[in-house]
C-alpha cells in the first residue's frame, strides 16, 4: 500500500521542484483513495513544501498570489502522471497489465475542464514538470553480453573487474516527452493529460507530441490575462520557434468542426493579431520571415487575417507605430508569397469564418 507522504516527497515534490522522482508500482483505486485522504492533512510538512514548489512554478507565469493546495484534481493528476511514467518502466509486466493501467489512468484523466482561471493555473503548476522530465539510461557492454538500464543504475556486480571483463559504460540523458519511445496508448494518455491541464498545453506549443490543438483551448484564451500570459510566453520562446506549430494548429482549427465551438476561430485570430502587435511593440523594425511550408507560415496567417478584416485598426491598436509595423510585416509576406497565394489564403479563411 502506498504511503502518501512518501509519494509526495519522492514523486510529486521533485516533479514540481526538480530532482530525482521515483517511479514505482502503478497506482490503483486503493492508492488513489489513500492519496485523496491526504487532502484532510493539510498541516503535513510535505504539503507545505509542495504548495511552495507549485507556487514557484506559477510565479514564473502568473503575477498574482494564488493558493495552491492538495485537492482531488491534484491527486488524480499526480497519480495519472505517475502511471504514465510507470508505463515506460522496464520491469512492468506484459500487454494485459499495461492495458489495465492504461484503462485506469484514462479514467483518472477524465477530469471536467477547469471552470476558472485559478483551477487552470493549479493544474498547470502540477503538470508543467512533465515538459522538462529527463531520464538517464545506461548501456553496459561487457565481454559476454550487453545490458541496458532505463532510468536505473546498473547493479554493482556488473561493474566489477572492469578491465578484465572489458566493461564499457555509456550513459545517455534523454528528454522523456520528446525522445522516449511510446506506444499509441501512451501518446493517447499524454493527450488526455494535456487536455486535463489546458494551460500546460498552451504554454508548450513546440512540443513534439501530442501536437498543439487549439480547438479545445480557445475558450481559455478569451480570458485576457491568460491570452496575455501565452503571448508573452510565445514571444519569449521566439516566433521563429513557435510560429510553425501555431500556424499548423490555426489551419487545422480552421478546417475542423471545432472552429464553431464558442467562436474558437475568431478567438485564435485575435490571439495571432495580438501576438504580432506585441512583437512589434517589443522589437520594432524586424519583420518575420516564414518557413517554406505554407501551412507552417505564421506571417501568412497574419496576411490572411488582414485580408479578412480580422486585424484591429490603428486606433484600436492604440499605437500608430505598431500598426505601421504590422502593415510592413504583411507587405514583406505579400512580396514573398505573391498575390495569388494571398488571395487563396484569404479566401480559405473567409470560408472558415463564414461557415
Amino acid at each position: 500500500m502506498i504511503e502518501p507522504r512518501a509519494f509526495l516527497r519522492r514523486f510529486v515534490l521533485p516533479l514540481c521542484a526538480g530532482g530525482e522522482l521515483h517511479v514505482g508500482r502503478p497506482l490503483g483505486a486503493a492508492e488513489l483513495a489513500t492519496l485523496l485522504k491526504e487532502t484532510e492533512l493539510e498541516l503535513h510538512e510535505e504539503n507545505r513544501l509542495l504548495a511552495e514548489a507549485r507556487a514557484r512554478v506559477l510565479s514564473s507565469v502568473w503575477l498574482y498570489p494564488l493558493e495552491v493546495g492538495w485537492d482531488t484534481p491534484s491527486a488524480r493528476l499526480a497519480a495519472a502522471i505517475h502511471n504514465l511514467l510507470a508505463l515506460s518502466h522496464p520491469d512492468l509486466g506484459g500487454r494485459r497489465a499495461r492495458e489495465r493501467i492504461e484503462r485506469f489512468t484514462a479514467g483518472l484523466l477524465a477530469l471536467p475542464p477547469p471552470a476558472e482561471v485559478e483551477e487552470l493555473l493549479r493544474r498547470h503548476s502540477l503538470c508543467a514538470g512533465v515538459l522538462e522530465l529527463t531520464r538517464t539510461d545506461v548501456d553496459l557492454d561487457t565481454w559476454a553480453a550487453v545490458y541496458s538500464f532505463r532510468g536505473q543504475e546498473p547493479p554493482r556486480r556488473l561493474l566489477r573487474w572492469k578491465g578484465l571483463r572489458r566493461v564499457r559504460e555509456a550513459r545517455r540523458t534523454l528528454r522523456w516527452l520528446e525522445e522516449e519511445a511510446m506506444d499509441e496508448a501512451q501518446v493517447g494518455l499524454l493527450g488526455a493529460l494535456f487536455a486535463a491541464s489546458p494551460l500546460t498545453a498552451l504554454l508548450s506549443p513546440t512540443r513534439a507530441r501530442p501536437p498543439l490543438e487549439l480547438g479545445g483551448l480557445a475558450r481559455y484564451l478569451r480570458t485576457a490575462a491568460v491570452a496575455r500570459l501565452c503571448v508573452h510566453a510565445y514571444l519569449e520562446l521566439g516566433l521563429r520557434a513557435v510560429g510553425p506549430s501555431l500556424a499548423r494548429a490555426f489551419w487545422q482549427l480552421s478546417n475542423g468542426e471545432a472552429r464553431r465551438r464558442d467562436g474558437a476561430l475568431e478567438t485564435i485570430c485575435g490571439l495571432v493579431g495580438y501576438l504580432f502587435a506585441a512583437r512589434a511593440l517589443a522589437r520594432p523594425a524586424e519583420p518575420l520571415e516564414g518557413p517554406e511550408e505554407l501551412e507552417a507560415d505564421l506571417p501568412a496567417v497574419l496576411l490572411a487575417l488582414s485580408g479578412c478584416g480580422q486585424l484591429p485598426s490603428a486606433e484600436a491598436l492604440g499605437d500608430a507605430e505598431v500598426a505601421r509595423q504590422l502593415a510592413r510585416q504583411n507587405e514583406l509576406t505579400r512580396r514573398r508569397l505573391g498575390a495569388e497565394a494571398e488571395r487563396a489564403l484569404t479566401l480559405r479563411l473567409q470560408r472558415s469564418l463564414a461557415a
Binding site: P26, R100, T134, Q152, E236
Partner: protein
C-alpha cells in the same frame, strides 16, 4: 648608467630614484585590440582623466610598410612608469621613454636605472625607438582619438551583474509602454523621473531621411524584485548610471572603466550603451527629466506634517486638541494593538468568525498593529479602540477633538478621507497617518508579515534539487500489479 646625470638621448633626465626617464612613456603595440587591452587594464588602476590631455594613440608605419600602434602617455615619475611598463609587457608591448621623437627602452631587470644611446639615429621618421636589440624609425600614419576608441567599443556580457542598493537605474522604454511603467512605479512608491528622448538615425538610415526614433528614459531607484521584471520585459532596457551623463545596460559592462575617463563625455550630451542591441545612443542634449508624480493621477500623495504645524497660520488658528469626553460611547472602527500583544492577536485570529476576515484590515508598523473596519470593530478586545470623528479621522474612545469643527472641515484640513486614515493618539504626540492601501485584509495573511515567531522546518532533500525532474525507476518486484485494482470492490 649608474650615477649618470647627462644622457645622449634628448629629453632624458634622472628622476628622484636615478632612473632615466623622459616626459612620456611610449608603448609600442602590434594591433588595436592590444591597445584596447592596455586601456582596459589601465582604466581599472589609474584615472585616465589625468593623462587624457597628453595621451595619444597613433598608428605608425615602419619603412617596410608594416603597421603598428604607439600609445603616448605622460608620466610624472618612475613609479607610474613602472606600472605602465608592467601592464604593457603583459599585453606583449614594448615600453620606451623620452620626450619627443627619440625614445629609448625603459628600464628592465637587466638595467634597473634605464638605458641611453651611444649615438642618435640619423634616419627619417616621426618616432625613433631604441631597443637593446634594434633601432627602428616609424612614420606617423594617423591618430586615433581616445574618445572615438571608447565610444566604438561594444559592451560585453556580464551574467552575474545585479543592481546594488546604491545604484541609480535608468529604464529605456519604447513609446507604447512608458505610461504603464510610470504608473506601475508610482503605485509601487518608487520615486522616478521621466524624459522623452529622440535618437537621430545614423549612417544609411540617416541618408534615407528616416524619422528620429523616439523613446523614454525613466530614472529611479528600483526595488530588487523589479530588476528581474524589467530585465525580462520586452521593450524595456534596464541601464545603470555609471556617470552623470553615461549609462550602461545592466548585464553588460563596457570594456573600459568609464568612471576613470569621464572627461571624454560631452557635458551637454547623454550616452546610453546598450549591450542587447549592440548600439550606443548619443543624445545631443541632456534629457529633461520630469517627476513622474506630475504625470500620473495622484491618489495617495503623502500628507505633509507641516500642514498641521504651519507656523504662518499659527497666529490666527488654534491647534487641534485631543481631550477627554463624556457621553454616549460611539462605535469603535479601529484598534491600535502594541506589537508586544501580537501573539495574543495571533491566537485571537483563529477564533474570528468569517465576516471578521472580510471586514478587518490590518497594517503593522514598528510599534503598533493598526486594525480597521469600515463598519465596526467588535471582535478584537485588544489595544486601544478608536472611533471615527470624521471620515478618515480617528480618535481614541473616550476622547474627542477640539475645537468641534464640522467633519468636512476636519477632513479638508487634514487631507484624510478616501486615501488615508489619521489617528490621534492620547500620548500627546503628533497624529499618525497611514495610507489606506497599506491596510491588508486579514484573509490575505497580513499578520504573517509582522515578524511573528515561527520555527522554520528543516528543508527536505528533494527541495534542494531545483530544475527539471529526473526519472528514477525503482524496482517493481516480481508482481508489479499485486493489489492493483481499477475500481472499488
Amino acid at each position: 648608467m649608474a650615477n649618470q646625470t647627462r644622457f645622449m638621448a634628448p629629453g632624458l633626465h634622472p628622476d628622484s630614484r636615478g632612473v632615466a626617464l623622459g616626459r612620456l612613456v611610449l608603448v609600442l603595440l602590434p594591433s588595436l585590440d592590444r591597445v584596447v587591452g592596455l586601456f582596459r587594464a589601465l582604466s581599472e588602476r589609474i584615472s585616465l582623466d589625468d593623462v587624457l590631455t597628453a595621451l595619444k594613440i597613433v598608428q605608425v608605419r615602419t619603412p617596410l610598410q608594416s603597421r603598428e600602434f604607439v600609445v603616448e602617455l605622460p608620466v610624472s615619475g618612475s613609479h607610474a612608469a613602472d606600472g605602465l611598463a608592467a601592464t604593457a609587457a603583459l599585453l606583449g608591448g614594448l615600453s620606451f621613454t623620452g620626450t619627443s621623437k627619440h625614445f629609448v627602452k625603459y628600464r628592465d631587470s637587466r638595467s634597473p636605472l634605464g638605458y641611453d644611446v651611444d649615438s642618435l639615429h640619423a634616419g627619417q621618421g616621426d618616432y625613433v625607438l631604441y631597443d637593446s636589440d634594434f633601432v627602428q624609425a616609424y612614420q606617423r600614419e594617423r591618430e586615433i582619438p581616445f574618445a572615438q576608441l571608447v565610444l566604438n567599443l561594444a559592451p560585453q556580457r556580464e551574467r552575474e551583474d545585479r543592481l546594488q542598493a546604491s545604484d541609480q537605474a535608468l529604464l529605456r522604454v519604447v513609446p507604447g509602454l512608458w505610461r504603464a511603467i510610470v504608473s506601475y512605479l508610482h503605485r509601487s512608491r518608487c520615486a522616478c523621473e521621466v524624459a522623452a528622448c529622440e535618437r537621430q538615425p545614423q549612417g544609411a538610415r540617416a541618408a534615407a531621411a528616416e524619422q528620429p526614433e523616439r523613446f523614454y528614459l525613466l530614472r529611479c531607484r528600483l526595488a530588487p524584485r523589479m530588476e528581474g521584471l524589467f530585465r525580462s520585459t520586452p521593450g524595456v532596457e534596464l541601464h545603470r548610471l555609471v556617470a552623470k551623463q553615461v549609462a550602461v545596460e545592466l548585464g553588460y559592462r563596457h570594456p573600459l572603466a568609464l568612471g576613470s575617463c569621464g572627461s571624454i563625455f560631452d557635458e551637454g550630451s547623454f550616452y546610453l550603451f546598450s549591450g542587447s542591441r549592440g548600439a550606443l545612443d548619443v543624445l545631443a542634449a541632456s534629457p529633461a527629466f520630469v517627476p513622474a508624480g506630475s504625470l500620473v493621477q495622484l491618489a495617495t500623495q503623502a500628507l505633509p506634517t507641516e500642514t498641521l504645524k504651519g507656523s504662518a497660520a499659527e497666529s490666527v488658528t488654534v491647534p487641534l486638541r485631543l481631550v477627554l469626553a463624556g457621553g454616549a460611547r460611539p462605535p469603535a472602527v479601529a484598534a491600535r494593538v502594541p506589537v508586544a500583544q501580537a501573539p495574543w492577536l495571533k491566537k485571537l485570529i483563529y477564533l474570528l468568525p468569517p465576516p471578521a476576515f472580510a471586514e478587518l484590515a490590518l497594517c503593522a508598523t514598528e510599534d503598533f498593529i493598526y486594525l480597521y473596519s469600515a463598519h465596526a470593530i467588535e471582535y478584537i478586545p485588544l489595544g486601544e479602540m478608536y472611533h471615527q470623528v470624521a471620515p478618515g479621522v480617528l480618535a481614541p474612545i473616550g476622547y474627542e477633538l477640539l475645537p468641534r469643527v464640522h467633519p468636512d472641515v476636519l477632513v479638508q484640513h487634514l487631507g484624510s478621507g478616501e486615501d488615508k486614515l489619521v489617528f490621534f493618539t492620547p500620548e500627546g504626540k503628533a497624529p499618525v497617518w497611514i495610507g489606506r492601501e497599506r491596510f491588508t485584509p486579514l484573509s490575505r495573511r497580513a499578520l504573517a508579515a509582522v515578524a511573528l515567531a515561527r520555527p522554520e522546518p528543516t528543508p527536505l532533500d528533494a527541495e534542494a534539487g531545483a530544475g527539471a525532474g529526473a526519472i528514477q525507476n525503482d524496482p517493481l518486484g516480481l508482481f508489479p500489479l499485486w493489489g492493483f485494482r481499477e475500481g472499488e470492490k
